[in-house]
Structures are given as structure tokens and as C-alpha cells.
Symmetry: C2
Subunit: 237 residues, 2 copies
DNA sequence: AGTATACAAGAACAAGTGTTCGGTGTCAAG
DNA sequence: CTTGACACCGAACACTTGTTCTTGTATACT
């Protein structure tokens, strides 16, 4: 069993914290001199000495003779995690970055019971603050930018276990197979509704999953499929 | 309306792609010379000239006389996105990074109908590949490391709209109020089950949400609450 | 033909950045 | 008291990295 390591010196903890916080705000690691300035170490050789010690402890990786050739290891993340502020701040920071990489627009509520207006510009207008972001393991193969989310209002899909207030993540597509749960746009009333979709020759049947509600029948030319439900999210807290 | 911009030159596109791909594998941007080597530009002044042009187009931000003082802008991400490989690879990369920052352990299946063994070491053993990660906006206030996820097996909670195969995200807590949907550990059988929780004086009632199933009654000393359901995720694809 | 612009290139230079050298001080062990 | 390890420090140096200078070619426009 490995001998217990001596605790990091105060300077070493300070250096790790600084590197970490620098990385939150910059797309590159700090220089030796930047580290020195931030940690009140006036000599580049003392910074270098401590970086060497941190490297020996497995908390840093360095590349020789490369500018900004520093990398915090995962062990260092955990080490810092024990002493820095709430993990939630870190989470939020990472999420914000991730959201900017790929985002699922969260549009207004979609009334499962009755169609509501979503606006003529389909899925393009959204508030950046409302974006949510999903694990790749949850996303099916395909382009993330084909996805969008809607919050459900109403209980017309309750037998499909989609409840009022749930968020449905949808894949943008214009074709629907019978039985797909889809969001459809009704041209005549300028609204969107969430239903099971069935072609019935000269008409389309939009079927609720609620025994107390009747299906809606519309002309195929009046309807445009906007997306298919891929995922349901519910906050029970 | 803004005049349509001239397309980027082949070299400029190549430079942007290289910077982007370099950033996927390094925690710092490339140098002028690294860019030159990768794009067959033998002169640092030509690289510099093109970087200046990209900066003028709003695709790059530079800091003068700072090593690796480059940053791709969001506009550049979109520009590249039109020509690079599947966005899914990008998503996966970002998510992998995020997962390493904060992770919700995805334990084995929890049988909603019958208790199953989850192991004596509560919630600490998990496969890193199974981690999923959630938007900060979906997480309630509190430490992310109090959360874990379980995949449901069985249909005992179907009237609570929790279906076989769903993922439930739980907050670690040891007290439960009547009516909370919780995972409880049964000492006598070394198993965990998902149920509504009710104190009934000298016993605890674990109530399924399925009219075809009977509640389970257990001694309060035999049961330990592990977590409360905060969120339900369902993949419908 | 002349001018302006875009793009290119090698070389030199300026500034940034990492590494090494020689030294000092503290502390624990012998 | 001496020695060795550790930590620290200023200065100098070596190398990396960004910027500028000068020159050249091609194209478009007047």
C-alpha cells in the first residue's frame, strides 16, 4: 500500500487553484510568469520548481520547451475539488461552455390538448438562456442541431406518459410514420400541437393519448410535421 | 443589409479547421509556426496575414504579443460546422469533457417491481462509461455529487408515469416524507426497490403505482432510504 | 501604362516564455 | 556542529513565438 503523501504546500495548492481558475476564463494555460504574478512568487525558477513538484505528484503534465505547455490532470481536478467552492459553480461553467457548443432550443409551451401559436419562424427563435443540453449517450445518432425541445401544456398525451409540464426533446423531420408522436404545424390556424400521427388517405388523424379526448382530423395539405419526439424529461422535485 | 462576403480562401478554411482540430486534442491553441506546418505555409508572415484576415471577418480573436493568443469565435464554430464532419463527434467530445467534470453515476437497473441487489457499497461503484450528465438548469440547487441515476426495470410505478427502461435521477437523502418516490435499501434482503414511501407507525409501506400490484410492508429498522426521485428521463427513439 | 489590392514569401527582429546557474536560508538527522 | 534535503530567489541565458520589413507576382480597374 502506497505510503501516505505529504500534503501539498500552500504555494502548490495556490498554484493549482490559479491554473484552474485561469483555464475557466482563458482558452490556454497560464505562463510561468503569470503564475508567479498571481501567487506572489517573484522568481520564475521557484514557480518552475513547484511545477516540477506538482508534476512528480501526478497533478500536472508538462511539455518541455513549449510555451504554455501545462495541463492539469484529472487527479488535480479532484484535488482542487476538495478545497474549492461549490461544485455547482464548476458545473454551471462547464455547462455554459457546452451549451454554446451545441444547444437544444427550448421553445414556448406546446399545448398537448389544443394547438397554440409558436410563430411563423419555425424553431429558429429562442432565448439562449433557455437552452438545455443533453448527454451524447441520450442522443440518437444524427446532428445535434436537428434537435429542439418543447415544454408540454395539457394532458392530451397522458396515456403515453407525457404529462403537463414535461419537456419533450424532438428531432426535426418532415415525414411521419403512423404511430409516431410528433409536433405538427397547422397552417390554417398557425399553431402547433403534439399528437400521435396517422395518415388516413385523404386526411390526417391527430390522435391524443387520453381517453377523454377526441382525435383531430385535418387536411394533409394543412398540416406540416415539425418533429418527432425522441425523449421525455420530467422534473419531479 | 450587409453585403455578402467573399468566400474564405482555401488556405483560410484550412487554417480554421486546423485550429479547431488542434483544440480538440490540446488544452491550448496552436502557434503561428504550428499552423504553418500543418497547412503547408512556409512563412510565418503568410500565416499572420491570413490570421489577420480571419480576425477582420470576425472568425478569430487575437491578443497581441501573447503566445498562443488565438481564440476561435462562435461564428467560426458555425462556419466550420458547415464543412466539418458530423456534429455528433463534436458533441461527444464536449460531453466527454463535461462528464469528466461532473458525473451522475448510472447504476444497474432498479427493479420497480421486485427488489434487486445493488451491492453493499451504496452508489459508489459505477462504470464511467455509463455516466450521463445533465444541464444545470435541470438540476435543482444543491451539490451535483449528491445525484445518481438508476435505470428502472419493471412497471410497478407506471401510474406515476415511470416506465420500464426509464432513467430516474435521484438526490441522495436519508429521510423521506409520505408520498415521496424513493429508492430504498432493504437490509434483510440486500436489495433496492423504487416505490412511494409511507411511514405507518410501526411499519413502512412501500407503495407501487400500479393497481395490479400490492404494497410491501417492512420494519422501519430494516429499511434505509437512499434517494428521492428528482427527474425522469425517457428515450422514445 | 499606371495604380491599387490581394496574396505570397524569406529574413530579420522584437517580445514572450521556459530553463539553468549560483546562491541563501531553514530544518531535521547524525 | 556538520551535513543533506528542501524551498526559495535573482539573474542570465536559451529557445519559442509573434511581428515587421522588403520584395515579388497576379489581377482588376482607370
Amino acid at each position: 500500500m502506497k505510503k501516505r503523501e505529504k500534503p501539498l504546500s500552500e504555494r502548490q495548492v495556490s498554484i493549482l487553484r490559479y491554473i484552474w481558475s485561469y483555464l475557466q476564463e482563458n482558452t490556454r494555460p497560464p505562463t510561468i510568469r503569470e503564475i508567479g504574478s498571481a501567487t506572489d512568487i517573484s522568481s520564475t525558477s521557484v514557480v518552475n520548481y513547484n511545477l516540477t513538484k506538482l508534476t512528480e505528484r501526478g497533478l500536472l503534465e508538462r511539455e518541455a520547451e513549449v510555451s504554455r505547455g501545462l495541463r492539469l490532470t484529472e487527479k488535480a481536478m479532484h484535488e482542487i475539488g476538495q478545497v474549492t467552492e461549490a461544485v455547482a459553480a464548476v458545473v454551471e461553467n462547464v455547462m455554459e461552455t457546452a451549451v454554446r457548443m451545441v444547444r437544444v432550443p427550448l421553445l414556448g409551451n406546446i399545448v398537448a390538448g389544443e394547438p397554440i401559436e409558436v410563430g411563423n419562424n419555425d424553431f429558429s427563435t429562442y432565448d439562449e438562456d433557455d437552452a438545455l443540453e443533453l448527454s451524447a449517450t441520450m442522443l440518437p445518432m444524427g446532428k445535434a442541431d436537428e434537435l429542439f425541445a418543447l415544454r408540454v401544456s395539457g394532458e392530451s398525451m397522458i396515456d403515453a406518459m407525457v404529462n403537463d409540464g414535461d419537456i419533450v426533446v424532438m428531432k426535426q423531420q418532415q415525414m411521419a410514420k403512423n404511430g409516431d408522436m410528433v409536433a405538427v404545424w397547422l397552417n390554417s390556424s398557425d399553431t402547433t400541437t403534439l399528437k400521435y400521427f396517422f395518415h388516413e388517405g385523404n386526411r390526417v388523424r391527430l390522435q391524443p393519448a387520453n381517453p377523454t379526448m377526441d382525435p383531430i382530423f385535418v387536411d394533409p395539405n394543412d398540416v406540416r410535421v415539425q418533429g418527432k419526439v425522441m425523449m421525455v424529461l420530467r422534473n419531479t422535485a
